[in-house]
Symmetry: C2
Subunit: 295 residues, 2 copies
Amino acid sequence: MRIIASTAELRAAIRDAHAGSVGFVPTMGYLHSGHTTLFDHARNENDLVVASIFVNPTQFGPNEDFAVYPRDPDGDAEKCRAHGVDLLFMPSVAEVYPSGHATTVTVDHLTTELCGRFRPGHFAGVATVVAKLFGMVGPQRAYFGEKDFQQLAVIRRMAFDLNIAVEVIGLPTIREEDGLARSSRNVYLSADERQVALSLASALRATRAAYRAGERSASALCDLLAATLTRHPEVALQYAELADPDSLRLLRGTTLEAGQGARAIIALQLGRTRLIDNAAIDHDDPSFQTTQAGA
Amino acid sequence: MRIIASTAELRAAIRDAHAGSVGFVPTMGYLHSGHTTLFDHARNENDLVVASIFVNPTQFGPNEDFAVYPRDPDGDAEKCRAHGVDLLFMPSVAEVYPSGHATTVTVDHLTTELCGRFRPGHFAGVATVVAKLFGMVGPQRAYFGEKDFQQLAVIRRMAFDLNIAVEVIGLPTIREEDGLARSSRNVYLSADERQVALSLASALRATRAAYRAGERSASALCDLLAATLTRHPEVALQYAELADPDSLRLLRGTTLEAGQGARAIIALQLGRTRLIDNAAIDHDDPSFQTTQAGA
């Protein structure tokens, strides 16, 4: 595996590899099994696997955790190596945003609700940096986790709209044994908070169960989702919604139809940690299959 | 030459050509020698030449000339064929902006002054459609005329910032015998307006001459530019500025330095027609060499 810091060197290395296909996994590092699962898929499906680790400042708000976002470059490189990454791109902020950088990619509609309401500018930062990384790498396939469900929808839309010839592949959320979605930010949680954080997966499971039991009112399901989360006084709920999986249109006030693919999506603040999670409501969700039978 | 209306077909045709290099000339059609010169350069420098004709609605303001923009698809195709274009892409608006399109590319700084002040949203429309066309075509080189000088700077910046692996090439403005810059919009001019329109090139020549005679005050040169244009009562001047050729920073209030590459840039409304023009101030400008000796 080669570790590369410059865009020009990255381009040259990809060109010189003469690979039939390039699989790309962009990350912000502090890698966990959510990421390494993406590497494994990329490795299985492509000749060359490129990963990037870049904590992108433009997708953090002024009061967010950019400065303290966890970093472990050596451990990350080891995980990349172990999971078949060929080229690991770790650029500096100045390499990605040289002086004079003036271009922003925005995606409307999909970004107004859910996390967009609580993180103004976040998705413009994401769309811009991912468009740039796609430009640098020129991958045939790019891999993202479904844990950041809105991000995945925004990136899919951006790549389609900008006619970027990449297949954007979303893979199921990877969870801890007890159901907590893996996230680099879980390291922020105290032991007590770690227990409360289980309520995200519990709320999603309860909502899936209510759907299976016949509940079709999106509002009732949203209320159940919220009620399960706010049982814990430590939880500052940001949102608990059902949304269309492609357009992210909120479904509150509607009656769910079979095969609609409604997605339950939640975000909350727990102490200093912001946590998000989501699940399919009306069909099997692979991310829940191993964590609790019957859920 | 093949005429293609679908993005998928365009991609397939480019892929199947297995060309070592692709040269691309995006246009809005109603082609003149300004465009065909770009085709000739693309033909000389690339294995495959792709041209597009697309009157992009998103770069026109609500009170602008989208609906009446001149169109001549058959004549245009003939000119493309005669100048070595291999693939002519003529998509519909729905092909470029299918339902649900939500992504916009904006370029800051470069777009606030000059035409940006008079055409809000124009350069976001330009940057977005050109990013999309670059995504569709994947060219090694793309060719633009210097007549739309701010547009060229914006596209250069956008392609660099989004790490699109394309060389953006600007070529000198092509002029009529009497100096009028060729433009598809010249067809709007009445015979009287056509005479008044010569004042754009005259003003640029006068300003170049004043610089050569020793004037180094950017403000004085801007005033001369404006004064030459507003001698005609029919002219509604929009702006007459000197600007840095890369950043487009306005130079009024500064003293020009040798080799700075200052660019005189003007826009005016003449009846229902908006006209723009520009010239290098402190070095030879090829677009003026054939029109008036000593200018």
